[in-house]
């Protein structure tokens, strides 16, 4: 036993197997069914935009980490996820260079300027998307029908011309990843099963929209499946970095997203409000965390 070199460190001495990288790659894997559906409906445009956006996101991340003289950590998968999310939130006919620009903005303005992974207050993909909507309003609201590159159509949320089963399977105009409820649910199940998705945010978000749709006499199925609600509630609002860390806070966050979305959709001048609903709630996340601190064990209990 002499001369044995032993490692000294404080407890705990064992760690869970999960890592940041595994979590990010799980999200990317959960996006694969959505991407596959988008490719089936919209063909090469789906591959073109998602690949361009993902490569641009990872390239921008590497570039800015180098400029900041930080280790190049794109293997953590977070830029890949941001790029895929942005790509899947774009209309199929968008020019490639706009997707590249959006991904650059998402990573640089949405993430790196705040200090990189973990420090960004807003969902980077949505920051990129918001800038694209503001910069290229026409291109960002020009939709093509599935299986054709034929002309512009409004999404079903506005046009109201689609059967419920079409909405569910996704054979309707819309952004690449948002049309197929089936594919999104599949992705959501992957995330939930792997412990990467907290059910409170999507349930609070979607539940609120359902309740208000009923209250204000809207077609619930259209409100649920006709726009980008499902995609946003499952993949965007649940971004760990930009959503609350307390259990109650996640309910507040989801319900808040739902309320803002309803206000924009029902009374705003925009057809869709997903991007802004989540970005606004991102801004409130630090406050929500402060206001929803869990009750500590043994606080507020009386002696026997």
């Amino acid at each position: 036993m002499e001369g044995t070199r032993l490692v000294l460190s404080p407890s705990p001495h064992v760690r869970d197997e999960d890592t940041t990288q595994k979590i990010m790659l799980t999200v990317a894997a959960a996006l694969v069914p959505v991407w596959a559906a988008a490719t089936y409906f919209f063909g090469f445009d789906s591959i073109r935009l998602v690949v361009a956006s993902a490569l641009a996101a990872m390239g921008s991340e590497a570039l800015f980490l180098a400029l900041r003289r930080k280790p190049i950590t794109i293997s953590d998968g977070s830029a890949l996820v941001t790029g895929m999310l942005l790509g899947l939130s774009l209309p199929p006919s968008l020019p490639t260079w706009m997707a590249v620009f959006g991904a650059f903005v998402a990573i640089v303005v949405g993430k790196q300027v705040f200090g990189g992974l973990g420090y960004n207050p807003f969902n980077p993909a949505l920051v990129g998307r918001a800038v694209l909507v503001a910069s290229f309003a026409t291109q960002m609201t020009t939709w093509t029908a599935p299986f054709t590159d034929a002309v512009t159509q409004a999404t079903p949320l506005v046009s109201g011309t689609a059967g419920y089963s079409e909405l569910f399977f996704g054979t309707v105009p819309g952004s690449l990843g948002e049309t197929s409820a089936l594919a999104i649910l599949l992705g959501g199940i992957i995330l939930f099963y792997r412990g990467v998705l907290d059910y409170r945010i999507p349930v609070g978000f979607i539940g609120t929209v359902v309740v208000f749709s009923l209250l204000f006499g809207q077609d619930v199925v259209y409100q649920l499946l006709g726009g980008s609600l499902l995609f946003g509630a499952v993949f965007m609002a649940t971004d760990m970095v930009t959503s609350p860390i307390t259990p109650v806070g996640r309910w507040v966050f989801g319900i808040g997203c739902g309320l803002i979305l309803v206000v924009i959709r029902f009374w705003g001048s925009l057809p869709e409000g997903l991007t802004y609903s989540i970005l606004l709630m991102n801004a409130l996340t630090p406050l929500i965390n402060r206001w929803t601190r869990p009750r500590i064990y043994g606080r507020g209990v009386k002696d026997a």
Partner: protein, 440 residues
């Protein structure tokens, strides 16, 4: 059987299969024992012997010195060769009595009671105190102190902790299976000592044999045996009380305030032995396990036996050891000196191979909130870590740093491999230091 659960906690690999079916083997006493005078929470015992003295097995060699302290006894007969500071499992030098074993095990006369349940509450307490019994679950809090709660509180429940939620450890399981009668007797004695009417024995559901044996003997004694969720830290005092009784110990308070006394099953066994035979606490059952040990075992070991003797008795190392831990992998203390002695609170010696010892570079927090979700006292570890890193001690305190039980679930679960518990420990130290400065 209804499974009692609690909020939070984690599911590390339990790895109990290494030793769960290994009967307790008696480890012969070593040639020399090193018996620290601090083996418990509280003040050191004062030495009652000096170099050159002859001592008997079971003779008191350190006297409890303070309200919170415990006496210490010789685990062999022989000659005191030194009373001096020696390395202990906490990494410090602790005043210890070093005794050369004459191999005769000549014992001091011990007076037991043939039917200890006839003993009065006061007699039980004084025997527990005289035997130097401390909590054998790991914290080593002097049992006699726990048996004398503040008088305003009526103890209703004795909760016997047989959860053994630390991975690898099986000593308590073996005690429950092999010494079932003494565990039940000990429970009754401890309950009688504090006037508790109800006894509940809580065992993690992964020990069906122990549950069955306890139930078979408990039926006739108004003792309830309950199964706990298989989840760490089911055996944490606060989590155990919440899971079994639905009560919460007040923050910074004691279980006695809500009418509960919690004792470990091995402590109950030691109490029964002390009352029946008069034998003080000079040995304990511990588990030697891990992928770095040749023959994982459960041993009955004399207090003062060097770690290296115990490791050798278990066949020695397999290849190069990476870490040797006193206790389990979640809360145990890593060791660098294998001459340190086994003390009353050592529930296991765990040897992890180099392969199992991973060192990580902490990555940025991605706010996944898993630490918040698993914290069994409902803290926000990530916030306390942040405040501690920035020296904001008052904020760390406001977020409950002092309520942390240091179970390690937060660090265990963190996907970014951050040292959350380390930073909470730093905050706790600073907060206590600040309070001390304020009052002095």
């Amino acid at each position: 059987m209804k499974i009692r659960n609690f909020r939070g906690g984690v599911h590390p690999e339990y790895n109990k299969h290494f030793t769960s079916d290994k009967p307790i083997k008696v480890l012969p006493a070593p040639k020399q024992v090193v018996i620290p005078l601090t083996q418990h929470t509280g003040a050191a015992a004062e030495p009652t012997v000096a170099k050159g003295d002859a001592v008997l097995l079971g003779q008191e060699i350190g006297k409890a010195s303070h309200a919170v302290s415990a006496s210490v006894h010789s685990s062999v007969s022989g000659t005191v060769v030194a009373v001096e500071p020696r390395p202990a499992i906490n990494g410090r030098s602790v005043l210890s009595v070093v005794i050369d074993n004459d191999g005769r095990d000549a014992a001091e006369s011990m007076s037991g009671h043939h039917d200890p349940i006839q003993l009065s509450a006061e007699e039980i307490k004084s025997r527990v105190e005289a035997a130097g019994i401390v909590g054998l679950g790991g914290a080593a809090f002097p049992t006699s102190v726990k048996l004398n709660p503040p008088e305003d509180y009526k103890i209703e429940y004795l909760l016997l902790n047989g959860s053994e939620c630390e991975p690898y450890l099986t000593a308590d399981q073996r005690i429950m299976e092999e010494h079932t009668e003494d565990v039940i007797l000990g429970a009754k004695l401890l309950a009688k000592a504090v006037g508790a009417d109800k006894i509940v024995i809580a065992v993690e559901a992964n020990k069906p044999e122990a549950i069955k044996k306890l139930q078979a003997l408990a039926g006739s004694h108004q003792i309830e045996v309950v199964a706990l969720a298989i989840k760490y830290p089911a055996g944490g005092e606060k989590q155990l009380i919440k899971a079994v009784l639905g009560r919460e110990v007040p923050s910074h308070g004691l279980p006695s305030q809500i009418g509960v006394l919690v004792q470990n099953v091995q402590t109950a066994w030691a109490t029964a032995v002390a009352c029946r035979t008069g034998k003080p606490l000079i040995e304990r059952v511990l588990t030697v396990s891990g992928d770095g040990i040749k023959e994982p075992s459960n041993f009955l070991v004399r207090v003062g036996t060097p770690f290296k003797d115990v490791i050798e008795a278990a066949g020695g190392f397999v290849g190069e050891p990476g870490k040797v831990i006193a206790g389990g992998p979640m809360m145990g203390l890593a060791q660098f000196d294998l001459d340190v002695p086994v003390v009353k609170g050592v529930s296991g010696i765990l040897v992890l191979s180099n392969k199992m010892v991973k060192q990580y570079e902490p990555l940025p927090c991605i706010k996944c909130a898993r630490c918040v979700d698993v914290c069994p006292v409902y803290l926000m570890p990530v916030r306390i870590e942040l405040y501690a890193m920035n020296g904001m001690w008052d904020h760390a305190e406001d977020y409950g740093a002092m309520d942390c039980i240091e179970c390690g679930c937060c660090t265990y679960i963190c996907p970014s491999k951050r040292e959350l518990l380390d930073w909470i420990r730093v905050a706790k130290t600073e907060i206590v230091e600040a309070q001390r400065r304020q009052t002095s």
